[in-house]
């Protein structure tokens, strides 16, 4: 067996792989937006008073937390077109990006919903009562009193969720989208697998750098946002 590695070439591969970074960023941002909107709806549902809606929201969260992302991708990418075909709708020509963004959006929305629920419950009940006592209505009280406090509490968890979402974008290659890992795979297959090790290490380093940057960003934001505020019970 021939094992010859050229670790000096890793920076070159990193530059080549980075050309696909905009695709990863696009997946990350769109699915982040979807997961936040969907997560807010699910969180509102799970905090509501209607037992049926509470049960559906809880069920959705626990379902999404139990299913591996890969299986959800396959369900949507391979399974959904078959079901819709049966209903006479053909979606096999849809952009592949749709499937990966939908998967990550759905999967992350459960984590986002849990985060929002925990942050909402962490805000002292007295705050809402105090807001009502000065004559605020429900939405105003939420927007001006509860939300700013809950947001501060949620920042560390939000940072974590975004990092996890970023890591999961690496599964985009499974539907054939050329994100950074897809690009790495394309590079290795173009050279018949000769530089597999170097390219995968290069991809790993790119993920490492971005994750550390995201982590620092989240810490910085937390510091800025909670400065001078009484830290609510975490």
């Amino acid at each position: 067996m021939n094992y010859s590695y050229d670790f000096a070439s890793i920076p070159d591969y990193m530059i080549k792989i980075m050309t696909a970074f905009p695709v990863t960023l696009e997946i990350l941002l769109i699915s982040l937006l979807i997961s936040l909107l969907l997560g807010a709806a699910v969180a509102a549902g799970s905090l509501g008073r209607k037992p049926v809606i509470v049960a559906i929201s809880r069920g959705y969260i626990s379902f999404m937390r139990g299913i591996p992302t890969l299986v959800l991708i396959f369900l949507l990418y391979l399974g959904l077109p078959q079901i819709l075909q049966g209903c006479g709708v053909n979606i096999s020509s849809w952009n592949k990006m749709f499937f990966i963004i939908a998967t990550l959006g759905l999967n992350t929305s459960a984590n986002m919903a849990e985060m929002m629920r925990a942050a909402y419950l962490a805000v002292d009940k007295g705050q809402l009562e105090a807001a009502y006592s000065v004559g605020m209505k429900g939405t105003t009280a939420f927007r001006r009193i509860i939300y700013p406090q809950a947001f501060g509490i949620a920042i560390p968890m939000l940072g974590n969720n975004i990092i996890n979402l970023f890591k999961e974008t690496s599964l985009a290659f499974t539907v054939g989208v050329i994100d950074i890992l897809g690009k790495a795979r394309a590079i290795t297959s173009a050279s018949y697998g000769a530089n597999k090790l170097e390219t995968y290490i290069a991809t790993g380093i790119i993920f490492w750098i971005v994750c550390v940057a995201l982590e620092q960003g989240s810490k910085y934001l937390e510091g800025v946002y909670t400065k001078g505020r009484k830290q609510a019970a975490s």
Partner: protein, 236 residues
């Protein structure tokens, strides 16, 4: 829905559960022990080692599991081969099953996450507990073993449960290094007849059941430890 296919494929997919559970249990067992060691090394603040462990943990937590699996799959054979040459044995690396590489990657990933869990759990134990143990003549090891770790475990248990569920889900990625676990088996069976939706609905159900069962088990253990801590608090 092709029910004949489902009836035929279901036992085969269920038959792949042991491989998934093998990866899960081995990775969790070794990974959590390693994680505890890492946490203690970082806590002890040993020169060089603590920093090295911190960098390693940061890398392992930042890189997606798929890439870790790929790196393990392509690095480990070379490492094992060269190690064999160094000690004078020609090791046939192609004879090593892929599941070994998958377990290696998942173990190190778990170790990194678990070390963070243990670190924060140990930090959450009151400093006075250490001082109290020393004051009655315990040394560091005894204090950790008899006083600190039992309390830290109660704090760590919910997070460890979360890690365990994450690990179950991550084993589905072992498909990409050629391990025939649940997802791979389902994919393989569905390919010839294109029964994707049936195969993946069954896979989903299996994963949901596994997650549910282990979630309940961890919750029971958590309550058990909590009660233990409540008793402690009552005695104080």
């Amino acid at each position: 829905m092709d029910f004949a296919f489902m009836a035929e494929a279901f036992p085969q997919i269920v038959g792949a559960i042991p491989i998934t559970l093998l990866m899960v249990f081995v990775s969790a067992a070794i990974g959590w022990v390693l994680g505890l060691l890492f946490a203690l090394v970082r806590r002890a603040d040993v020169q060089f080692f603590s920093q090295a462990v911190a960098v390693f943990i940061s890398f392992m937590r930042s890189v997606p599991s798929v890439i870790l699996l790929y790196i393990s799959y392509y690095v480990m054979p070379a490492v094992i081969y060269f190690y064999g040459q160094n000690i004078g044995i020609e090791i046939n690396v192609s004879g090593i099953p892929a599941v070994v590489y998958a377990i290696a990657a998942l173990t190190l990933n778990q170790a990194a996450y678990a070390s963070e869990v243990f670190r924060s759990a140990i930090a959450a134990v009151d400093e006075g507990q250490f001082e109290a143990s020393y004051s009655i003549g315990m040394n560091k090891t005894q204090a950790l073993q008899k006083v600190i770790l039992p309390q830290a475990m109660a704090t760590a248990m919910p997070n460890l449960g979360g890690l365990f569920i994450m690990l179950i889900k991550d084993t589905s990625l072992a498909y990409y290094v050629g391990v025939y676990e649940i997802t791979a088996t389902a994919n393989l069976l569905s390919m010839p007849t294109l029964n994707f939706i049936e195969a993946y609905i069954m896979t989903t159900v299996i994963y949901e059941v596994l997650s549910f069962v282990f979630n309940q088990m961890f919750r029971a253990e958590e309550n058990h430890l909590k009660r233990f801590r409540a008793v402690l608090a009552a005695q104080v």
